[in-house]
Point group: C2
Chain length 595, copies 2
């Protein structure tokens, strides 16, 4: 993994095979991406502090995990210091390392994992679990003023599928397994977990659970919270064992307390999760909709219909335009086809600047896929949806895990790009969309910077959907770039909670979203989390400062302290007011054609 950026050392994003991208970025962000500005600091130039490490603790950890699995090397400590949020990348690239861990330990099994926790608690050290390091909410970094020893527990050796139960369709899997290694082991036996977040290649089962992750095919398979049935977690009071039962009424769900706990309750050793037989058929179709409002209405009506596609994703006009700008250099045939499509769209009354690209996926038996495609076609027809075949879907499917590499490419060119995602009821989506894009553009104007904001709907549920926003700015040079970034990011997050949406759908809270937690789940909700964390971990040894108590981060981001915060109030589910920036209203649901 790159210590200064996303993903594999040998992989990088390039614009050279994408002729439309350079003019697109030049137009919107006033930056010529053909001219890289600056890279990260050289590793040799980093000032890596000496570890705060009592010899007795280091000795005990070497005894527990074996000396070869305990490291105090600078590169290990730097890689394990934080995740890959925009703020993480900017600081690390500039050589601002923060409070890096003093030691990295790699336990090889559950007993070693439990013994590592025991040793750390006995020595009053801080313990932070590390999966594959792709967290983008500030969940992995120790507080800057932490004086105790900080231990990063790298879960990478706990990477095996332990057993598959073909009758119950459950698999027990170690928490440190990465996405590709997990699917490789399951696929070999004919199974899949079906969990594919954007971070798939650089995230782990334990990380997904600790942050309540969601994947590209969660419409079919469910979010990780639904997939996870059993758990084994090393906690200060021993090994927590959650049985893999399909449902239970044994009090407040302990399973759901581990989900999203970000390392504050213990170290997840393994989980028993739903698995599915690899589908006979799998297809992702492209569709075009004349407007964002029409596309949202179509997705909403699919959710209310008897159709059950595996993927429902639609980009707004801005993201559609960006998407087209990243198309590879095309053959003459492609150009002819493309031109024919544009002519056809024009005749159908499509405005090319307003149209929205959607992907809808289908999985299962041939019969099922055929029936689902028909059912979806019936629902989207009244909304002007137009099928454009498998080509765009296949392309999306191939490059879906490459997107995070773009951030580093843009950072090399001085552009700051980031993402913020939320979920809200269908009745509020257009209002949330209008408020968020309005807030982002308002922040661009306030700062006097060039910026771009775009959005896609990424997951559909019975009552609402996830909206995923991507934004980028070219800093003005008049202020610290991270301060200008913070102004935009904060405006977007504030627009979420002010409009009845949640502060994060699947990126978790960490430190970067902690400021809005109380506005989302209300003060008594925060009281409940504090009660749980403080009761289980009275010494605050387990990943302190995440979710709640992230004051230091708030100061760094110029955010008001808790005393200035407004207590969350219920937002009515059906908005009484028109949306702040009055986007086109979504058509009312009609009696949906049934599957």
């Amino acid at each position: 993994m790159k210590w200064w950026g996303w993903g594999d050392e040998q992989v990088a994003f390039t614009h050279e095979d994408k002729p439309a991208l350079r003019p697109f970025i030049l137009r919107h962000l006033r930056v010529d991406i053909a001219k890289p500005a600056s890279g990260p600091i050289a590793f040799e130039d980093l000032r890596v502090p000496e570890p705060v490490l009592p010899g007795a603790l280091a000795d005990r950890l070497r005894e527990v995990a074996g000396a070869e699995h305990v490291s105090t090397e600078a590169i290990d400590r730097v890689i394990h210091a934080r995740g890959k949020s925009l703020r993480d990348l900017v600081r690390t690239r500039a050589g601002d390392l923060g409070r890096i861990p003093d030691l990295v330990v790699r336990p090889g099994d559950e007993d070693e994992l439990a013994a590592v926790l025991r040793a750390a608690l006995d020595a009053d050290a801080v313990v932070i679990a590390f999966g594959a390091g792709s967290n983008i909410s500030g969940s992995l970094e120790a507080p800057g003023d932490e004086t105790r020893t900080v231990i990063s527990v790298d879960m990478g050796r706990l990477d095996r599928v332990l057993s598959i139960d073909p009758v119950a369709r459950l698999a027990e899997i170690q928490a440190g397994v990465s996405g590709p290694r997990l699917e490789e082991q399951l696929n070999a036996a004919g199974w899949t977990l079906g969990h594919f977040p954007d971070s798939f290649t650089h995230s782990t089962l334990g990380g997904w659970i600790a942050t309540r992750s969601s994947g590209m095919q969660s419409d079919k398979y469910g979010d990780i919270a639904e997939l996870t049935r059993g758990l084994r977690v090393a906690t200060p009071s021993g090994m927590l064992v959650v049985r893999p039962v399909p449902s239970t009424s044994t009090g407040p769900s302990v399973r759901e307390m581990i989900l999203g706990s970000e390392g504050r309750l213990g170290l997840i050793s393994s989980a028993t999760v739903h698995v599915h037989r690899l589908p006979e058929e799998r297809v992702i179709l492209g569709y075009l909709f004349p407007t964002w409002a029409a596309a949202l209405a179509a997705m909403r009506d699919i959710a209310a219909s008897e159709a059950s596609p595996s993927v429902t994703r639609v980009s707004d006009a801005e993201e559609t335009a960006f998407s087209f700008s990243t198309r590879k250099r095309s053959s003459l045939l492609d150009k002819v086809k493309s031109k024919a499509l544009m002519t056809f769209l024009g005749r159908r009354g499509f405005d090319v600047d307003a149209m929205c690209l959607a992907f809808i996926g289908y999985e299962g038996s041939e019969r099922h896929v055929k029936a689902q495609r028909k059912a979806v076609a019936r629902v989207i027809k009244p909304h002007g949806g137009l099928g454009i075949g498998t080509g765009p879907g296949e392309l999306y499917d191939q490059k879906k895990f490459d997107t995070p590499y773009i951030r580093d490419f843009l950072l090399d060119r001085g552009v700051l790009a980031d993402v913020s995602e939320t979920a809200a009821p269908w009745s509020r989506l257009q209002e949330v969309y209008g408020a968020v894009t309005g807030a982002a553009r308002g922040a661009f104007a306030e700062l006097g910077v060039h910026g771009y904001v775009m959005c896609h709907l990424s997951h559909s549920y019975h009552s609402g959907a996830c909206l995923y926003f991507t934004f980028a700015i070219t800093p003005s040079g008049r202020r610290e770039p991270l301060d200008e970034y913070a102004t935009v990011k904060n405006a977007i997050q504030q627009a979420f909670v002010d409009n009845g949406a949640t502060l994060s759908h699947h990126h978790a809270v960490g430190t970067e979203h902690a400021r809005w937690l109380e506005q989302d789940i209300s003060r008594p909700g925060v009281t409940m989390l504090r009660a749980l964390f403080d009761g289980v971990d009275p010494g605050r040894n387990l990943n302190p400062g995440k979710l709640v108590d992230a004051e230091e981060y708030h100061q760094a981001m110029n955010l008001p302290g808790p005393s200035q915060r407004v207590v969350a109030e219920s937002v009515p589910i059906a908005p009484a007011q028109p949306a702040p920036t009055s986007p086109e209203p979504i058509p009312e649901p009609r009696p949906a054609p049934q599957a």
Copy 2:
């Protein structure tokens, strides 16, 4: 509501129109139900203790809710003293009232509810929410040695659907609404919640949430945990507001902490829940399977197929026989039909003593229902399933809420009947079934009593199902009847947790299941619950002694204390050993025909 038994005063179970029932009970329990033995004590003969009630608290509550909504009448206090578990009924019928509440208050809105809580906390009183009083896990009774004032908060006036959002398909509903009143309001606008527990007529939305309820059509609509999105709860630290978002990654789920909290975290004021349009068509079909093993295999394969019925329910041979014994006196035509069916079954090789009756339900558009019926037919054919039309299903549908009345009928005749339900992975179901029926029959033999145990599978999930056991004994007369009952009940619950099943699928923990909680969710799981309860409610004013800390109940039931308890260990998901009583193995899954 009856103070001494289940349901409406004017409704009672009768055997008179069911000619096969008397011989059935005589054969299995050696009791002649034509001769009632004894009824409950007369209300006038109850010794109702004086309330422990400081005048200032009573005055403040009258001020808050209005004097007419504060009651210290004996009948109110007795009705609100406990739920309707077998143990509750036996004690109440005998005049053993326990620690009844000192006062019943009926707040009329959320502000009054919050003010009642505030007043109670200020006076260091105990607060127990009361929905419709049908809890059967001992969740409603105050500890016998409680010296503080005990307030029962009757939620019955909070019974309105506040709003329906037709776009997001969400409704905000007050927590005190009963099942019928809720559906009546939703149905009037064309909607349904789709939540129909056995207790439907005498339970409330708030009660369902507080106990993690499940309903007869939860295969389609989801358990209450899934249906519930938003919550408003009066807590000691103020009004908890959980936003009705479709999914979120804001830390451990506060929503899931209220679900199953049994009044230990606060008083639920309202919830925002999924609603669905009333289905065009709804049909429940009867099926017969040659054996229990074949029926279980069919249900498992339906869950793994692309079919999605709304109800999957199958009775074992014992429950099938009981079910046939409760058929009403039939016409000559019925008799001819019935005889023809038996002849037909005989020719198909069915053993009438081994066959199992199943109900599978379908809901939706005509097209959908037709496709689902076909898909189910393809799956069950290889398991010998035989459709027997809509007649039995319609009958089941009509009388599904009447079952609880039988307990009182049997109690009048000296027979103790009760239920215990669990959930386990598909791979363990037959083992759990064998262990539980074996444990019950072992207990009958040990006690030297006549008993009967029967079972149905009531809900299917991806990875497993709920098994619902009903058992009855005719006490020997040599010991306290409740002691003999406890021997059987404890053997069944112990068999659940010893075989990888959960101690309760949807009846919750209360006091009656608290003894096994640690064996189910492990000691660190109990630590997490304690941390949450003690942190939120340090004075233990909120329904104390439920879920954890139910020592007094354990003593009454002759159960070992916590020091003698075994810590739960993980049970492997695929059993290594044959089941204790070696029931017929379930056929292996075959590549299922697809929908």
